[in-house]
Amino acid sequence: MENIIEVENLTKKYGTFTAVDAINFSVKKGEVFAFLGPNGAGKTTTIKMLTTLLKPTLGTVSLAGHNVVKKPSETRKSFGIVFQDPSLDNELTAYENMQFHAILYGIKKPDYQPRIISLLKLVELYERKDSFVKNFSGGMKRRLEIARGLLHNPKILFLDEPTIGLDPQTRNHIWTYIYNLNKQENVTIFFTTHHMEEVERMAQRIAIIDHGKIIIIGTIDEIIKKAGTGKLEDAFIKLTGSNIREEAVSVGKNQMRITNKLMR
């Protein structure tokens, strides 16, 4: 099967701090790929580089055949993303948020109207389509963001901790939608999470990143076998250590700010 994501030697440095350190991996078309790591390991920085939000210091990323740095526009059409933090306009309704996205992606009204309706039905928000997003619960916002990420028929869906702060019921629903999407529309899923049971339920392959380096890639069974543990959670802790991590991402960001200030 062909690779839909190809990452080579991908590196991001903030001054002297290396957030992502020469990582290599690939994801196959239609695969559900989990990208794991402790807080501050470099997950979000990697996703930002894969999704054109951040320029790599070194290395190349190819998404659906497009070089991310050289062809940002084509790349952007090929993926949808649900960010770790909410990214909806609270002052607009659910439908308007979807419509904004559709027009931004150059979709015409006859195409986006039925698509928005079917996606809102899929995530069970159709009844609330004309409600302002500011009145939505965390779970509803998440579902809307997933629907929005799928609006332009992306080949890849990035989900950065999509179930953070949600109750088990909502988490279960969200993963059910995602599972169905992957099966029915063959959307490649690239996700991060700290819930190992979600990984066990969803992922076909896993990469674990720590201190900016990928320490292992493989199927769940392979990783458990290599770590010599009984469960994925234990394997994860064994491979990445049991110490609590500093949020190195914010350290990196601060360092970046300091460097920027010095350069001004």
Binding site: K48, T51, T52, L53, L54, P72, S73, E74, R76, K77, I81, F83, D85, P86, S87, L88, D89, N90, E91, L92, E96, Q99, F100, H101, I103, L104, Y105, G106, R148, M256
Partner: protein, 247 residues
Amino acid sequence: MTAIYILWLRQLKRFIRKKASIVGALGQPIIFLLAIGFGFGPVFAKAGAGNYIQFLAPGIIVMSVLFTSIFTGLEIIWDKQFGFLKETFVAPVSRFEILLGKTLGGATVAMIQGILVFLITLIAGFRPHLASLPLAFLFLFLVAMLSSALGAAIAARLDDMQGFPLIFNFLVQPLFYLSGAIFPIKNLPPVLDFMTKINPFSYGVDGLRYAFSGVNVFSPILSLSVLCGVSLVVILVGLYQFSKVQL
């Protein structure tokens, strides 16, 4: 093009839905008209400078446009903080289109606010030449574009609203007070004279006053050129700042 349209429409929708802030933003111009307009009116007339409301009204309209559009531009900081900017940044749209959509949206919103204030000045006794209303709107629109772009360019550099008092007190207020909006800019002390002349909004106020009352210090062509030129520069600076924004 459709991306610019939807960004513009979003600004407009957000503006129209915040009815309280539309009314709230009328407070300051009304206070200026009543307290300063009628308060200084007699002194102004005694000095032989004519009707002060007639002089002040264009300045007050520019004030409302300037404040509204700079703040709309600064709203980009909220978009950063609440994550919405990420949604626009990962879309297949150039940063230039995003900036232009935002700037046009901010300018349109400010124009609406400016027209409301214009109607209020009419009630207060302002009597403009209605024949040159299109020229007046052109000046207003340029002022709106300039301030909206300025707000966006500043917002690109800021991560939160903490720098807001600094911008308001050391940039927005001086731009307004040193624009000849509330006093004539003829025969000023040299420092003040210099500061009003390098302030692009002086040309906006003067141009608007010319369109409304036929009174001017600078030639209207000069005023138009300054506003267009500075707007262009600010948009280019904003674009550069915007291209460097990392989320």
